[in-house]
């Protein structure tokens, strides 16, 4: 179990912000930090991994103190068992795919895991290539595999899929979920994509101005349990047109634009750019704003 109760004064471009985070994540859970840019999500991940030192507070992981300001305990990043996947992947350009993974091996660690991971992420063919010759999705898979070499207790994913196209995102979400289950990881993800969050996470924390303003399990969090629907997709509103007595709303779901007929009383609460879910019971589709 991860217990985080930390405070930190951050200086950002927009001025000062005080980060005050208090959260618990159970072992084996998939937790997501959600919120606007600059809310403190990445800083929270960096403090958990030891790359940024909190001003005060406490971080314990599975009963072990990683940080405690009162006792002057602060484990270096090297001493914390964290697999960190960076937003820019941070692959070493001078090493091949295989060498990138081998670099992450710990002293006296069995090299068998390298082959296992390369096979798992299906990069056998590319293992002797340099990262710069790979596509974004392939690079992301290498970064993911490399973070797992040292068998971390915690896997940290900082917006890992934001630079990829839709099809690649879907594929990598599958990988992440498989990895999370197979290696029994406690995983912490930063993401803006509601579909992705609902698909992957057990727990969601929403951050705003350095505070957690809302938390819950993923479907509660976005209010998805309130409707008993037969199918359900999340998407973004592209246009709202009034036609006679009804509204036609175009919603981007994945790569498809879906047109939905809506009642004026529903449409009045919606505007272009809203994140919505589209669901259907037996016949009539429902369109509703998520948050």
């Amino acid at each position: 179990m991860i217990k985080l109760a930390i405070q930190k004064e951050l200086k950002s471009e927009g001025g000062k912000m005080s980060l005050n985070i208090d959260l618990n994540i159970n072992k084996g859970q998939f937790a997501t930090l959600f919120g606007e840019s600059g809310a403190g999500k990445t800083s929270t991940l960096r403090m958990l991994s030891g790359l940024l030192k909190p001003d005060k507070g406490l971080i314990t992981v599975n009963g072990k103190e990683w940080f405690e300001s009162a006792k002057n305990i602060n484990l270096r990043p090297q001493q914390r068992k964290v697999g960190y996947v960076f937003q820019d992947y941070a692959l070493f350009p001078n090493m091949t795919v295989r060498e990138n993974l081998e670099f992450a091996l710990q002293k006296k660690q069995d090299r068998y895991i390298i082959d296992e991971l390369i096979e798992f992420i299906e990069l056998q063919e590319l293992q002797n290539r340099k990262p710069s010759t790979l596509s974004g999705g392939q690079q992301q898979r290498v970064a993911l595999a490399r973070a797992l070499v040292q068998k971390p207790e915690i896997l940290i994913l900082d917006e890992p899929l934001s630079a990829l196209d839709h099809a690649m995102r879907i594929k990598l979400q599958e990988y992440i979920l498989k990895i999370h289950k197979k290696y029994r990881l406690t995983t912490l993800l930063v993401s803006h994509d509601i579909g992705e969050i609902v698909k992957l996470s057990d727990q969601v924390f929403e951050l705003q101005d350095g505070q957690i303003i809302k938390q819950g399990n993923a479907s509660d969090f976005f209010g998805l349990d309130k409707t008993s629907a037969k199918f359900r997709f999340t998407g973004e509103i592209l246009s709202i047109k009034q036609e006679e007595v009804i509204y036609v709303i175009a919603v981007l779901i994945g790569n498809d634009v879906v047109k939905i007929v809506s009642d004026p009383s529903e449409a009045i609460n919606l505007k272009i750019g809203d994140k919505v879910f589209v669901a259907s019971k037996a016949f009539n589709p429902i369109i509703q704003k998520i948050i």
């Binding site: 090297q78 960190y84 941070a90 710990q106 490399r146």
Partner: protein, 223 residues
Amino acid sequence: MDWDPLLLTLKLAIVTTTILFVVAMPIAFWLANTKSKLKPIIETVVSMPLVLPPTVLGFYMLVAFSPSNAFGSWLNEWFGIKLIFSFTGLVLASIIYSLPFMVQPIQAGLATISHSLSEASYTMGKSRFKTLVKVLLPNIKPSLLTGLVLTFAHTVGEFGVVLMIGGNMPGKTKVASIAIYDEVEALNYSAANTYSIILFSVTFIILLLVYLTNGGYFKWFGK
């Protein structure tokens, strides 16, 4: 034809470049990563030899290392080191004089590398030293080469500092640039010309190699 000044120049340049590579590395690493308020001051000190007349540098070193002064006599009494008019003194002076030529390219190279590369290495349990050697340096090879070569060439070409602190002692401190001056003073133009043309060619070839390599004309070193 006396080959000693040329050999001495070569020896001085090799020793200086080697020592400076090791000395400049932590300075460049610190400068590339620090957020300290001292940074501009340290950067200024490192860059001073670029603009300062070499004679100024040489003069102060001459004063500081002179056995009649506290520091110079302390060095002499405790370590038996005499820095004035000696090869050791020349090396020390050259290191200070060429410091910016080694520090600046390495610092600039390190600054272009994303912080996440070293952070990724730290989260994998690797030390700062291992990260530097295995991750950072291999990715700034062109900068390293530039630093090494500029330092070497700059040391070959120094005159003022050497003359001030080393004097003109054959086989000990009489490097090629000083030998040229000597020969001209003695109106021995053909000897001066021989030294000059050798230095000229060597410098041209060294710099050409750097630009060829960093321009990607040689596959094994390019980006």
